[in-house]
Point group: C2
Chain length 103, copies 2
Amino acid sequence: MSYEQALTALADPTRRAVFERLRAGPQPVGELARHLPISRPAVSQHLKVLKDAGLVTDHAEGTRRIYHIDPHGLGALRRWLDQFWDTALDAFAAEAERTADNP
Amino acid sequence: MSYEQALTALADPTRRAVFERLRAGPQPVGELARHLPISRPAVSQHLKVLKDAGLVTDHAEGTRRIYHIDPHGLGALRRWLDQFWDTALDAFAAEAERTADNP
DNA sequence: ACTTACCGTAAGTCATGTCTTACGAACAAG
DNA sequence: CTTGTTCGTAAGACATGACTTACGGTAAGT
């Protein structure tokens, strides 16, 4: 739910691959693991981290659990990034102007 | 320069603290280290990672090096996130509609 | 009821990365 | 030219985390 968790969750390449695979739509765990070079339990562990970070959600469907992207975590990350982006640009513009004053 | 590097760079809490300290404006390494619970070489190593990710830039000023935020890395991260955000919302809306069709 | 499929968790191994201290280089001042 | 800052890099210790195999639990099918 916090942007810190989202950042640490999306840092790992394999976990990012799991996450990006969900862009194609909701998928069960086995389907995800079949197209990845890691074991199925590893996928489950990654999904747990992504879930705790608010990046994915799951619901049961028979014996399988369907995972899909949760906008909450993405939103938190986006808000932080936008806020950072604004202040960074302001500082950048101010610094450019200050440098122009003292050539 | 790539969003992958930006994500892995911003994942570490200490490195994120270094990065966020630069929001206040350009600062030399020693100034950053003075307000952080780690040694000065550690700060240098973090700055190297941030620099390779395109998140900061530096320029010499006498014997010290002034670091400031570089919009490039932030921009790459933002583009990826926005693109992801759009497709995620589309998939979310489509899934909601599909679920509404099959109650 | 029994079997099969699908999944999460626990325990253990192993690699990755973060921190420290020690050292050397570049620049300013005296 | 010597001294004092400021900083980056190298080497090593240490913690964190990612992966595997093994196990138990739940639901569907026969």
